[in-house]
């Protein structure tokens, strides 16, 4: 049939057209996003090459990339200096974040549910919340000396208060009515926790965890500059200062930014997607109200 021969390629064309335009749109948005960055790097490179900027203070991007490649030592990743620094930094940040979460979340649930306790503690909390975690460093430096213990303790404090605060806010944000309804229908404490408190507090809790991780990561840099003995990205950057090794410093800065972004987007983004979509259907924050 002539009809079929005509419509078949037309259908195939229509089928092909859609994904191609989507791919096209995706690449276009990537290009539009990347273009200014590339232009920015090019201007930087050219400015240094032409001698407008002192290369010892602001090395061109190509030098920084080469330096990063040398530090990464891709031929023998087991001996990679950069990976060792990154590993130590990540380990410290994760340990202190995990400790903070384990302690702050139960305490947050307790303070969120118990109004009297919350009112009693709140002045102390509002005093400790704006206190920069780095300010504890000198105390820990004298008590524990330089090293991992001091760094982990400082990062722990950096992560603890944001997580505690948002857990409290999340639990307090749950309407009393939903608690009463579930209780009147004879739910036990575990059921209330699992079906009402946890899902209800979760959006705020997760953004608190995200904030806590971000604080832990940012505090880590300062703590490592002040108190690290041998490893860590902050230590790498600060030690490079003594040798005027600016390209190493920029390699460290890039690593810090990329890892921070990865943790925030990849880890917490997917965590948010999984849990909140499961409990709140629409996948939007705040849709439980």
């Amino acid at each position: 049939m002539p009809n079929a021969t005509l419509s078949e390629p037309a259908a195939a064309f229509a089928n092909e057209q859609r994904p191609r335009s989507m791919v096209y749109r995706a690449t276009a948005s990537v290009v539009v996003f990347a273009l200014p960055i590339i232009a920015f790097l090019l201007i930087w490179e050219v400015a240094v090459r032409l001698g407008w900027v002192d290369a010892t203070i602001l090395p061109p991007p190509s030098t920084i990339v080469r330096r990063g490649w040398v530090l990464l030592n891709p031929s023998d990743l087991g001996q990679s200096i950069l990976l060792a620094h990154i590993g130590v930094s990540l380990w410290r940040a994760l340990i202190s974040f995990a400790l903070a979460a384990v302690l702050a979340i139960p305490l947050g649930f307790f303070l969120g549910l118990n109004k009297t306790a919350y009112l009693i503690v709140s002045p102390l909390l509002s005093l400790l919340l704006p206190l920069p975690a780095v300010a504890w460093t000198p105390i820990f430096l004298v008590s524990f000396g330089q090293g991992d213990l001091t760094i982990v303790a400082v990062c722990f404090l950096g992560a603890f208060f944001p997580i505690l605060y948002s857990t409290i806010q999340g639990v307090r944000g749950i309407g009393r009515h939903s608690l009463w309804v579930v209780r009147s229908m004879g739910a036990g404490w575990f059921d209330i926790f699992r079906r009402v408190l946890l899902p209800g507090a979760l959006p705020t809790l997760i953004s608190g965890l995200k904030l806590g991780m971000a604080h832990s990561w940012r505090t880590l840099v300062a703590a490592e500059m002040l108190a690290a003995l041998s490893h860590g990205l902050g230590f790498m950057i600060f030690a490079a200062r003594s040798y005027m090794d600016v390209s190493t410093m920029f390699v460290g800065i890039v690593c810090l930014a990329v890892i921070g972004l990865l943790i925030e987007r990849a880890v917490f983004g997917s965590l948010e997607a999984v849990t909140i979509r499961r409990w709140h259907g629409t996948g939007k924050l705040g849709s439980n109200r």
């Binding site: 009297t116 105390i139 948002s166 990561w217 972004l261 987007r265």
Partner: protein
């Protein structure tokens, strides 16, 4: 601090409106006073290490001496506080000014957004303090380094909030102003600035929080003579625990005053004047 992580607002605890039962009052006082008394007694009687935990009375006495004419240098505490505040204020002023300008440019012009948004979004996730060593090499141990770190800590928040504030504004207001023959300049001052004012205040509050944290750390790394951060870090080199504790207490109180009292006052005054409520 990046955009995604800032959506948990550090709200003020409303101390005044809380139902103030007698038990709560006693509990609040006890939570602060009892540990202090215990600390004092344990330290005095040698139950805890008196070197690592000097009694609170000694810490307060040290603060008192250091803020008087016989301190070393005289009136030291006041100088430290003054330097810190000066750096904070200059950094924040710079951040508010430049952040507002860039934010308005990004919010108003599609072209500016296309060009600058990618660059800003790759600079934003860099921890502010990571810039400190670079600035140290670039500028040296100087007030300018700490001020720039404070600026960097606050400016991205300002840009982001101002730009999104403009995007939230009703386009019809612009049309009305334009149709009545307002010039660009008039639109900027009469429509846009009042329109973004609540966002400006919110941005300043959040930015001040980040800037305060960055300032203390930057002073530990990059100050040579004065500043609260320098004071406690310098004291740790000489193991003056009483100065460290005094400094941390001072930093906590000043942070509280900055975040709750000062910014709260400004917020209340402006929202009253402009008749807009801050979204929380």
């Amino acid at each position: 601090m990046s955009v995604e992580t800032s959506d948990v607002r550090l709200e003020r605890y409303d101390l005044s409106t809380a139902p103030f039962g007698a038990m709560v009052g006693i509990g609040r006082a006890a939570l602060i006073v009892v540990p202090l008394i215990l600390w004092e007694l344990c330290s005095r009687f040698g139950l805890i290490n008196g070197f690592l935990f000097p009694p609170p009375s000694m810490i307060l006495y040290k603060l008192w001496v250091q803020s008087g004419p016989i301190g070393n240098p005289p009136y030291a505490i006041w100088w430290h506080v003054a330097y810190s505040m000066l750096r904070l204020l200059s950094g924040i002023t710079l951040a508010v000014g430049i952040g507002t300008l860039i934010g308005v440019a990004l919010g108003m012009s599609r072209r500016a957004r296309l060009v600058f948004q990618p660059i800003i979004s790759i600079l934003m996730p860099v921890p502010t303090l990571a810039w400190t060593p670079v600035l140290l090499l670039l500028i040296g141990i100087d007030n300018r380094t700490t001020i720039l770190v404070v600026f960097l800590a606050a400016v991205f928040e300002m840009i982001y909030i101002v730009a999104s504030g403009i995007e939230m504004m009703n386009v019809k207001m612009l049309w009305v102003a334009q149709s009545m023959g307002a010039t660009r300049w008039q639109i900027f001052w009469r429509v846009i600035i009042p329109g973004i004012f609540p966002y400006l205040i919110t941005g300043t509050r959040l930015g001040t929080g980040y800037a305060w944290r960055a300032l203390i750390a930057a002073e530990m790394l990059a100050a040579s003579s004065y500043g609260l951060g320098f004071m406690i870090y310098d004291a740790s080199e000489y193991m003056n625990m009483d100065v460290i504790y005094g400094g941390v207490m001072l930093i906590a109180v000043l942070g509280y005053v900055l975040e709750n009292v000062l910014i709260g006052k400004i917020e209340a005054a402006t929202t009253e004047k402009w008749g807009v409520l801050n979204e929380r």
